[in-house]
Symmetry: D3
Subunit: 284 residues, 6 copies
């Protein structure tokens, strides 16, 4: 496409009100799903984050693991057992989770951000006691899967103050034991503790759909008070339930706006933050 | 023109290397000529400056007067006398110059910047003793026209540190007398004292042309060492000479790059700073 | 007069309790009237302000316009129309007001302060969005005369913190329109927002007189609660009413003491601040 | 052993001169070997580091990998190939190295330090561009093994300033490729860049021995100028050569004292820093 | 006694939890009695204080006078008169008290601390208006003996912030008159104003004893609410009453724990702070 | 004397250039002689110092002892022995010197300054290791009289930064021994280390006289290069020699101007600093 210098400048200018609005504000992004697997989507997203950081937005990136963990477990010949359809995390698996999250995915993201000019610093929920966790017991015994007990976000505050982009692996510790933590929950809690302006949860769907088979029925905005009704109607169902619960919780604890966005869209984050065009469902 | 969200995002991303390069760097812009007269050009430029400021560039705006001064003098029925083709500035004219520069143009610019979200603060060379001047005597007696003797840019440094966009009127004082100062010279000296990364002088021509009647002969880049030869050949001549001398002086005192750009081009400053496409002649 | 070194030292020492009392405190001075017109009074007052600043008092100088504006309007052959005895400010007049206030009077004061060793910085209500205003409608249509809607004194706080003497022109902006603002009102509001220790309003009368024809009937101190009674008796009347209202408002918003002082007295400000001898009427 | 309160206090007092000497000074510790494998030695060492940190010493911990890497490679059924006796690091191995260092060992150390009250923060040479590296070519093609090209220790300085204990994994990046870095070399370079007071390299030997089979022939102190002679005599030989070279390099770049200490000794670091009794060979 | 390096290190490590607990916390120590007279006890205590200071505890040392004052008065041939068994402090005696406290004892302590590497700074209650006092009248006319009216601990806060160990002489001033102040009361009030973590009052007894003739009946901990009952039983009696009252007052004003400890025990302060073994009676 | 408000204001204004000149500059004053003995002179001088401090001058007051020491020694029935006309300071005398200087004179001055609104803080050369001294041997064995070996003025710098007026007693320590130090020498060295703007030595003579019996022959200014000639001529002689040597030394080490002024003149310091009228002999 051939765009004139004037038109390019106009497009930059159109971003001005959004840059002004989010200047020096905190935006927490939960990164996952396809945006994590496709190299192209991932590279675009890292570029977008460096850009947001350079125009004065304080971005915190939170990630989980997913397919990478399975890949390494497979290589190790480690078979998975399931409890009520959820994978049981034994001691060995827990170690692999920690290793893949904090050693592979985290550092790969950091490396991509740094190579694009971002001052990224990768930490985990273990560092400086960020995430205190204990064994999750409400869904049967899942082994080393933990709930967040409390957070000490001082380390993130310190990093933001020094101008770094914190990249956070969702693991936590309690009583000397390391637990795998749900990354959506970690992102939501971090956003709440930091009084973030925005929380973005990347997923592999277009957002909340009235008819789950028809993307044109996207609900662009949901009031927290409407959530229960939407659950009753089955519009919020399945894997969307915990995601929406994270959003609701974050809004209740003071995050201005939380959005479930479609990580399959190129530059989804940039479009969501720096334009009027939303790419998902916002909870307010 | 209809541009997709993806293309818009791509255009933002293309600006990334430039935003990174100029992050926290000082860019001094001498504002004048047509960019000053056309309301549309002026509004665009103020928007551009707010944008540059918000993406982390420390912009200093220096302005002179021109047609506005004549307009007020005319209204006052004040006739001008000329010395060697240059207007003689008597006491009454000097007062009008101060009034129009520091009271009209400066505050109009400030007001435009503020209304677009910029934290603009308008000062003059008198404030906090910024510009010390004395009577200019090298071109005959021109009355209250001054040369810059010295500068104390502490006030600009303080304002930049506090996050303001300084807008500076080119007047100075010496021995209790206020002098009209050439705005190009003021901008060049301010850039030098601040060790600015860039100095942009807006003019009403495309830049330095090999053939002054053919805009396609624009010289995009000139080494300071080549200037004398270009003067000898008559390529640098007339009103361009003092402008080029300011550029040379600024480069010699440590400004990385100084550029004469075409203020008639819409978004000239934005294109010059945030893209590969130059819109004038750069001195290095 | 021949005063010995010892007596001179004693006089300095007598100022000690006042210097101590106002050390690091904010004093807002509304400057106007004869003190503005007589060169000798003006020079003395600027010297006094530099002295107050050097002994550690944070002075903020607020000024309006008055005769200078008329002078320029006259030169431009601009005739004035009146509404209920108040001058109607049309668009052209409004521009002249801005130009004279922010360009002439403000910079002349700055220049005088700087030449006496003061670190003066002249701003207007437009700079950094200091004064937000809207059209004044309570006294008929006066054109571009505005009321103060809100203030953002951050710019003054920043300047005081950096050791500057802010000199403020009483104009404001709203919806892109610039308004002429009453300087007494601007000074009172600035004093209130800064939680100033003192507000001094310079006038051309001795203060509040019980018998307006007998200066020996000066009322040195008035309680805010007594004001209504004094208005009823006609002791506060005419042009004194809005000034007194400003004082009352400032005291109500937390300024410790506000005083209407006689700007015709040489060194009035110095005597008022650094001695026991008051030179006007104080509201507490 | 039964020690009286008085004797205990006396022992604390004996540490006073050393605490004073190293107060607010930087000590870089390369952690490896047996001290890494024995849980008891490791736990003691982490406690010692928290203690050093609490008494005001700025400790930086640098670690490599070793047996843990082999363990994971084995689990993955990955066989190693050797070049001149050195393991060839292919792409897959490089990823495992990164994962084990930054995800397993680093976070395990962080977790131990945090649980003892240390404010530990684990980073790698990738974070904030700490270690720039390029392919090592001087020992044949070893694959993804890198030399340190340059360092930007700003991130460590920032962390020390904020009171954290940096724990650093020895990997680096160049041109988007991640390299395995020798941890001794990384520690030595970090110590040099930080102008550290002390560099401690933990090994599995008692230090430099005149007769390598007789631990009673330990050389407690070596001048940098004597190193070549000791190499010629074969006293510095084998795996000790690169370690000694690191020490010499660090001393030359301004580290006051570097010591090779015996990591098999319990509390080796504490004894080395807080007492007169050395536990290895010091290079000065 | 022959203690191995390992055991020494273990003893240091045992102090870790206490060093962590008191890190950056304020501990106020009232120094007096035998600990002041015996050179050996005094030297040990000064060493202990330097050690506590170096491991990050903010120590404030408050002292009174005692035998030194009598010694100087004797030398001057000054006889003492008594009022209800308390020494009457006439003008001359008051001057001697000031001289001995602020000039002799204070500077001797400072000198000892400095020579051991402590950054000690000796002040009195007169300096920067620390202690405002007035004549004590509740025990008959004792002359220049004062009660504390108020405190301005800013000077101590400033010194702690700059890393000094404040050593404070218990004198105060009011209306230009200098008063002798009870050092226990001064220490308690300083601890309260600084929200200290601990207050230690050194005495010449083992602590509070159930049977004052049997040291084995030491009461290790007393609740503030139990004090009245202990007074009624005569367990708190005589000179212990004002000391206990100081403790109670300090606890009520927010000091976490106050302890009366036995200054005759070597390293009493170090044992009390850095171990589990208490050496007196604690009030909570 | 009856002086009008206007004249009083004019006198304040006359001090303006001097207040500006010394703003934020350091002035070291050696206080002694009659100014110390006469209560009236002393009170005036303390008021003057508070005034200088409040108008922004950083005053450091250094004092010795003199008659007060003799008074206390007399009371103690201590007889003095003399060596070459200089008093021999035995151990007991040294203790009295310390006590009187740091406990009596220092705290009396502090108390006077505080009661006039000065934030005075009294220290001695022992505090924070300010003055390192060793036994003076160049004038025979004088006992505990010391020379200054080195100074660590950090403590004075810290106090000035925090806004205090340091009052310094001239004693020093070396190898655990406390020495009496000449106060002129201490003041000169402190001024040199602080790069003070001015050093004032108060004496009981009018200054340097050409004819020592004729006060009208006062030499107002002496170049350091002229001193030797003046010594040869006997114009600088006796007790003036060490004072002049201190001045010369201070000027050589970078103090702008040092002056010997007449402490018998009321407000001598104020007149010297805040007016054109000098009251002694200045060395430049």
């Amino acid at each position: 496409m051939n765009i004139s210098d004037f038109d390019k400048a106009e497009i930059l200018v159109q971003a001005l009100p959004y840059i002004r609005e989010y200047n020096n504000k905190i935006v927490v992004i939960k990164y996952g799903g396809n945006a994590m697997i496709s190299d192209e989507l991932r590279d675009r997203m890292m570029t977008d984050i460096v850009l947001l950081s350079l125009v004065g937005i304080k971005v915190v990136l939170v990630h989980g693991g997913g397919p990478e963990i399975t890949k390494v477990l497979d290589k190790m010949g480690k078979e998975s057992t399931f409890v009520n359809g959820l994978r049981y995390t034994d001691q060995e698996t827990a170690e692999v989770v920690q290793m893949v999250l904090a050693g592979k995915i985290n550092k790969d993201l950091v490396q991509l951000l740094v190579s694009r000019g971002g001052r990224a610093l990768g930490i985990s929920g273990l560092d400086a006691g960020l995430i205190k966790a204990s064994k999750k017991t409400d869904s049967g015994d899942l082994g080393f899967v933990g709930n967040i007990d409390s957070m000490d976000v001082q380390v993130i505050t310190d990093m933001l103050e020094k101008g770094y982009i914190p990249v956070v692996s969702a693991i936590g510790a309690g009583d000397g034991v390391v637990y795998n933590i749900n990354a959506d929950a970690a992102a939501a809690r971090i956003a709440a503790e930091l009084h973030a302006q925005r929380l973005l949860l990347l997923t592999d769907v277009k957002g909340l759909l009235r008819d789950k088979d028809d993307e044109s029925t996207l609900i662009p905005e949901v009031k927290v008070s409407e959530v229960q009704a939407l659950k009753n109607k089955g519009i919020i169902s399945g894997g969307m339930i915990p995601k929406v619960d994270c959003c609701v919780e974050a809004v209740r604890r003071g995050v201005k706006r939380t959005t479930i966005i479609d990580g399959r869209v190129e530059h989804a984050v940039l479009i969501e933050i720096l334009s009027d065009d939303g790419v998902g469902t916002m909870f307010v």
